[in-house]
């Protein structure tokens, strides 16, 4: 059951972030300030991919809650970082982002740090 929860959490997080990134890039640069925040709230309701991303975020959150109920926190936190690798690879393949050696190296350093945090 533990690995099922980890898989669901990882896939749901990655899907949520990919959908958010895709939709927000289509929407264009947002302005900083109260008006920008209001526009963002309206955008969530209007754009179905953003709504779907919020649903994925909820699945990820509840999977994490179920995971920490049955598995140690020292396992759950680094396990949640697994989405980091999946998302970086998917961003390169699906969103056509250019992930050079410096960005990949930086992401790897961050992943090591997160894994160390959870120990």
């Amino acid at each position: 059951m533990t690995w099922v929860l980890v898989s669901v959490m990882t896939v749901a997080t990655a899907l949520s972030d990919l959908l958010q990134s895709y939709e927000m890039k289509r929407a264009g640069a947002q302005s900083v300030g109260a008006r920008g925040m209001g526009r963002l709230l309206r955008m969530i309701v209007e754009r179905r991919y953003l709504l779907l991303s919020i649903a994925c975020l909820a699945v990820s959150f509840f999977s994490f809650m179920a995971l920490v109920q049955s598995a140690p926190l020292s396992f759950a936190v680094p396990a949640s970082a697994a989405s980091f690798i999946l998302e970086t690879v998917a961003a390169g393949i699906l969103l056509k982002e250019r992930i050079g050696p410096r960005r990949a190296g930086g992401a790897l350093l961050v992943l090591c740090g997160i894994a160390l945090l959870g120990k």
């Binding site: 958010q20 350093l109 160390l116």
Partner: protein, 135 residues
């Protein structure tokens, strides 16, 4: 990438990190003051929202989600992921300074790794994809 877009990227990033740090701090502070333990019963979670610190924490985290969405409008996902991990550093510092939590040397090492990774990623272009849709 233009200077104004770089400023906007780092403005959203700073706002997101401040909101998430503040939100987590308020949640931690608020939940520790609660008279009952959070359990599987959803009513306990609903009651906890009446605590001013918990409520403030939830509101700050919702606004943080909006700031992250805006950040994704100006930067790549593969850029945003490691940069927002700076939040772990903010959480460790806030926990140490304000909540007086013990932070082990291993945890500080983790924080340094995250910071080094984020610094490396910050030296790459924020946006490597195409133009937004026409309105």
């Amino acid at each position: 990438m233009g200077t104004s877009l770089t400023v906007r990227t780092y403005s959203w990033l700073t706002l997101f990190l401040a909101l998430r740090g503040g939100g987590n701090l308020c949640l931690a502070w608020g939940t520790r003051r609660l008279p009952e333990t959070l359990a599987a019963n959803p009513l306990v979670y609903l009651r906890s929202l009446f605590d001013p610190f918990v409520a403030t924490g939830v509101i700050l985290l919702i606004v943080a989600l909006l700031a992250r969405l805006a950040l994704l409008s100006v930067a790549d996902l593969s850029f945003v992921l490691p940069m927002t991990a700076i939040g772990y550093l903010v959480a460790a510092l806030l926990g140490r300074v304000i909540l007086h939590e013990a932070v082990s040397p291993q945890r500080w090492l983790a924080v340094i790794l995250i910071f080094a990774g984020a610094a490396l990623v910050s030296s790459t272009p924020h946006d490597t994809t195409g133009e937004p849709e026409k309105p």
